[in-house]
Symmetry: C2
């Protein structure tokens, strides 16, 4: 087992345990159960891994990075819950299980998503003195900007408005920079925020996050047409069925793959330019994003 | 015009202007328009007024209190947007206008609510140096706890589970302490947080907020049966139609009114015990809650 694979498995376990301890089962009237169902035992935990790897690369505060990692994952999890609802993508399968609204009803799914977003911010402001207020405030700001109208939610609105619309590559990339890119990039930058680093390091890791975020989406579009639902753990072929523009529909499968490779090269180059000594894990994470099978 | 009425009108204007400047119209694909529709030009602004009045009572940082006031209102506004959706209360009228999902569609309403919650936290962590990180972190924590599974969202889950169920007064109050009380009490406490005060002041203003929060709900239940939809600006008689337990269904109209008065007396008594010199506005706000006609 390579060093990266072992690291990834160990961090996935840490994140799972931390999420399990922070997403309480005893929230009223089954809400806690719906929240845990949405969050636990699923997913690649790519965003938390990016936070943790970036935190390690800058030799930042590990406890703070774990909180930030889980906070980002809670935002991601809530967005999936709401995105799967009938008024949005109306999807019944996620991470190989029935979606939250199928399992718990639409109203509970709506509330569980709402409560997960609040909990994400709560995690960033512990009252046990374990995080400096300055770091708490910085992380809250990064997360709020990445999650809201100027980030993920804004990108989802563009996505909604794009069904059946012919987008060129510039417009498609602008949409994905918001919809998935903002939170992926914020994951890297929240890890960076756990240490004091020079402006050049921040700039290059931000570029790494941007390239990786876009590569993630290009590969997502490729997998949507090349992989079956059982492997993906979610409904395959959805974009074409929903008449949504994708990198594959725009440039074809072969060119889309070449573009993903080019973006990963850009991510690697930004890491190199950062001058940081310990970027092996971030390097391997980019490769993992590019070569993943689901 | 009494001093309070003039104060209230002036602060409502300030809050409206601040919200209008902070909820940007240019969020992508109409999302900003839906967010503004949900927030602007409507409501009593009770929560912002509580933040501002509490901030004045403790002679706190006025600029921080205005941000906190708007953040609380954004949480309240998002909760109304989601609560009105077909999978929850399925309501078409709010503040005398069509609800957000009627006007903009369900998907956009869902996203607008999500983005409003993120924006609430963003407001509390300005990057212009106007708020200390310690205050930002404290306010984020108070808001997250009041909004999430241990507060408003948790109370809504209990409310969902209570349709057609016979609750006693203790259970009904427990539900409302979460559903509406947590955010109303947090409004007071976020105002208090804008200054450094003695523990006794915090304790008494917390008691004030708890009593006022419950009184608000008792009066809400009374108005639901005594007032028409046009006056309320929302659908009247909804609780009875939905077979939801209320203070009126539990204790009758007359006793419910007496209970509201008793809670307001408790709120006033807590203000008196705080020993603060400038509690006239908080006192008048409690009276306003108790005597409001909508």
């Amino acid at each position: 087992m390579s060093g990266f694979v072992a690291w990834r498995a160990a961090q996935q376990d840490r994140v799972e345990q931390a999420l399990s301890s922070w997403v309480a089962a005893d929230a009223p009237a089954g809400l806690g159960l719906a929240m845990r169902y949405a969050v636990l035992d699923g997913g690649k935990r790519l965003r938390p891994l990016l936070v943790l790897a970036a935190g390690e690369a800058v030799q930042g505060d590990g406890a703070a990075a774990l909180r930030a990692a889980c906070a980002v994952e809670l935002i991601h999890a809530y967005s999936l819950v709401h995105d799967d609802m009938p008024c949005m993508d109306n999807d019944v399968l996620r991470r190989g299980k029935p979606t939250v609204h199928v399992q718990f009803g639409e109203a509970q799914a709506l509330l569980a998503g709402d409560a997960l977003q609040a909990l994400a911010f709560e995690l960033l402001v512990p009252d046990d003195g374990s995080m400096s207020p300055a770091l708490s405030a910085a992380l809250c700001r990064q997360l709020a900007l990445a999650a809201g109208a100027t980030g993920m939610a804004g990108g989802q609105a563009v996505d909604l408005a794009s069904v059946g619309v012919s987008l060129d590559q510039t417009a498609l990339e602008a949409m994905h920079r918001l919809k998935t890119g903002a939170l992926l990039q914020a994951s890297v930058m929240m890890g960076v925020a756990t240490a004091h680093v020079q402006a050049g390091v921040t700039r290059e890791l931000s570029a790494y996050g941007a390239s990786l975020g876009l590569a993630f989406q290009v590969v997502d579009d490729i997998l949507d047409v090349t992989t079956d639902s059982a492997t993906l753990g979610k409904t395959a072929g959805k974009d074409a069925a929903n008449d949504k523009p994708t990198f594959v529909s725009l440039m074809g499968l072969e060119k889309a793959q070449a573009y993903a490779d080019e973006l990963l090269d850009q991510a690697h180059a930004a890491l190199h330019r950062s001058g940081l000594a310990h970027t092996d894990t971030l390097h391997a994470l980019a490769d993992w994003v590019g070569r993943r099978a689901s």
